[in-house]
Amino acid sequence: MLTRRDFLQASSVVALAPSVPSLLRRTARAAEGGNNERLLVVVQLSGGNDGINTVVPFADDGYKRHRKELRLPGDRLLPLNDSLALHPSMQGAMDLLEEGRLAIVQGVGYPNPSRSHPVSMATWQSARLDREEHRSYGWIGRGLDAAPNLRPNVAGSVLVGDEPTPLTLRARKTASASLRSIEEMLSFNESGRSLAAATGDTNDLSAFVQRQSLDAYATADLLRSLARPEGQTASSYPSTALAGRLKLIAQLIKADLGSRVYYATQPGYDTHSQQLPRHSRLLRQLAGALKAFVGDLHTAGLGERVLVLCFSEFGRRVAENASIGTDHGTAGPVLLAGSPVQPGVHGQTPALADLAGDEDPEYTVDFRSVYASILERWLGIDSTLALAAEFPQLPLLR
């Protein structure tokens, strides 16, 4: 795996630089300094994922009773244990689990759940139950505001995609950037790059800009090589929108961009009708993208530094509707992927058997407990600053 330093040394701009040795040492050292940072990738499953058909409680009588048209065939499920199984389309996630790189948290939600998309999404994004507090900042934004070691001159978080920046990343202080494609990071100014090291000026500000320019073009070179087919690692990504976004995130991480949190969304989970084929496709895309991403980073030697969190604003109703779909529900599973996870199923799976036809499961794990665990045990951030209260931490990480 080529590193940023290899690129600084090999980069053509360096050959032209009159004072490279000291500049190079400084830049390379700066790059090394950041190399142990732990990164978080958030995948937002927008629309309300049907958790019951994602992590299927096949042994629960309630599943058979409530799900008739939408019951997944038992012989094709991917069993996790004697009562739970993954959706048949989630082979990629199953592979991750077998590699010890997937954790599933069951029954994640919050008290008095809202079934409105914007309200429940804002609840998850802000980590605040009070709707009055839904408009200011997000849990990641507040967390990064409290983070001890953010790199200067780099956005704390990056949204990859063309949506507006989610509330999750909105911070009082920490900047969030967004990136649509790798083209935005590649250099097309061949003549400007040649001058990156040659300004002739020697004051502190000029030296700073010069150093950053050398670094910028080295990063662009590294990204270009990562984007070329021969620069790709063994893990090949499916050709889906989500996989494309995760692949770009992997490229940014490999190029040591320096942001701590990356964010991508996968829309389409609002399956009110004809749910089976659409949900199956979404979960295949999700599992495939996660597997490729985690495998890619592992191959690059970065697997230990990256944790992936997948959440949705709510689960769907246990009872199916008349359109062979499901309506807005309550709690659902959260997925964590990557080498840092404590693999397997966490939390308590809500029982469906005792539910009446119009009831939905109560949450068993407060979503803020999942956030607190990630903030404290992964990002090293005081979770009370981000969540405004203390929540029990879960053993989700190794």
Binding site: P152, M185, L257
Partner: protein, 459 residues
């Protein structure tokens, strides 16, 4: 290096050591305007510093590229953006104003206040309100802070942005009170947490109804509050008066004006105090402070030249104006998209602190992006139809001799304010002539090389 505090804000007069030369003309234009054409630089060099600053202050500095009926055209564009509720068109409207207004200082001040009262449409989500707020910055940006502050703070854009429309006596929200004290007036360290809580109570009852500011007495907390030592049934307007008369506000505004026009480490604490005192004694007269700074020894001192990273908007508008890309001009939509990608999306500051500015503008993505923007500009990709920039023609029109050294010197002066040492000029010429090519292509490559270089990021 700090300048002598006793003489900081005195009027600068050229001397043999610090002459009114092209470098200082360029400096004035980059800091107070958005950059000048060659013709404007030459005119101001000839007319002297007093006339040049006079024109900047009175909004008559630009002589090139101002369309007939600019005001009407700008209003049509802004009105259409508002009617369509289209944020990208609103951004393009402001870029249009920055590029073509005869009063670039007015637009810079609007940008300064946008950064001071940093409000983002990401949350406000209302083009009408964002446009109104922007016009407040323009109309009152150089009057007095007493005129400006209440208009901005009691406008729905800011109230929605800071959740103040939800601030009621049974559910006080401290967001506006905190930012009002920390960012808009006093600055951190000049108030206590208790002052914020009490100020939030004073602000209860302010709200927004149908896009209009309203004050409802039934939501106002009528109890006694103690804010910064003032005790009483303080209401929102009383709070603003308390804040406006506080000396810390004058210092914060002095800091903001220096932040907008001065470079790194160019203003000492003593000098800042001096400017703050002047503001305080003159009823927070912004026009006085701006004029004082722009005519000052501190502003034209050697230590304040070339000691500032250009922001994305300054970099972009400066290049477009200097290169006289007016026939046809680049699309203001595409320019707005470019500056947004470079990290300065107008109407979308990153948070309530605004853009950090300075060295934080510079990172791997932004530098590569600026280099790419330079190529897009000279190749004419931001124009419709695409149409390369004729760099050679520009140089010939300004009587630059047809040789590489002269061409290089001209573009360096035009785009960076100063010539180069021989080694840097040689590097540029080497890069521009790396491939055997037609003269116009060599000239274009020279321009994109200079704009992409570290030198062109500083001004």
């Amino acid at each position: 290096m700090n300048v002598d505090p006793d003489t900081n804000w005195q009027r600068w007069q050229p001397t043999a050591d610090e002459p009114w030369d092209l470098r200082r003309v360029w400096h004035l234009w980059r800091r107070a305007g958005f950059g000048a054409t060659w013709g404007e630089l030459q005119r101001d060099l000839w007319d002297g510093v007093d006339a040049s600053v006079d024109r900047m202050l009175t909004g008559e500095s630009r002589s090139d590229g101002i369309p007939d009926g600019f005001d009407e055209m700008a209003d049509v564009i802004g009105g259409a953006a508002v009617a369509a509720r289209h944020p990208e068109r609103l951004k393009a409207w402001w870029l249009y104003r920055m590029l073509f207004s005869p009063d670039p200082l007015g637009e810079r001040l609007a940008l300064m206040w946008h950064n001071h009262f940093a409000t983002s449409n990401a949350k406000v989500d209302d083009v009408v309100l964002m446009h109104q707020q922007n016009e407040i910055f323009r109309a009152h940006g150089r009057s007095t802070f007493d005129e400006l502050l209440p208009r901005v703070v009691k406008h729905p854009a800011l109230l929605v942005w800071l959740d103040a429309e939800a601030n009621r006596k049974d559910h006080p929200n401290e967001n506006l009170a905190r930012e009002l004290m920390e960012l808009f007036t006093l600055g951190v360290g000049n108030y206590s947490e208790s002052d914020i809580k009490e100020a939030a109570r004073a602000l209860t009852g302010w709200t927004v109804v149908n896009g209009q500011f309203r004050e409802f007495s039934q939501y106002h907390d009528e109890g006694t509050k103690t804010i910064l030592g003032h005790m009483g049934n303080t209401a929102g307007d009383d709070l603003l008066d308390i804040l406006l008369s506080h000396p810390a506000t004058a210092r914060r505004i002095a800091w903001r004006i220096c932040d907008a026009f001065m470079g790194e480490d160019a203003v000492s604490a003593v000098a800042l105090d001096e400017l703050a005192e002047g503001l305080h004694n003159r009823g927070l007269d912004l026009g006085w402070a701006i004029e004082t700074v722009l005519r000052s020894r501190a502003f034209f001192a050697e230590a304040n030249i070339g000691n500032r990273v250009l922001g994305p908007i300054e970099f972009t508008i400066g290049a477009v104006r200097a290169l006289e890309l007016s026939d046809p001009p680049p699309s203001t939509f595409l320019l707005a998209e470019q500056v947004s990608r470079l990290g300065q999306a107008p109407f979308y500051p990153p948070n309530v602190f605004g853009w950090d500015g300075g060295r934080t503008w510079i990172n791997a993505r932004s530098l590569v992006g600026r280099g790419n923007l330079a190529v897009a500009l000279v190749e004419g990709r931001l124009r419709s139809p695409e149409h390369p920039f004729d760099a050679l023609d520009l140089a010939r029109r300004h009587k630059v001799p047809d040789n590489l050294e002269a061409l290089c010197g001209f573009f360096l002066q035009l785009l960076t304010g100063a010539g180069a040492d021989a080694q840097f000029a040689d590097s540029i010429i080497a890069v521009a002539t790396a491939e055997a090519d037609a003269d116009d292509r060599v000239a274009r490559r020279m321009v994109s090389a200079i704009l992409g270089s570290p030198r062109a990021q500083i001004g």
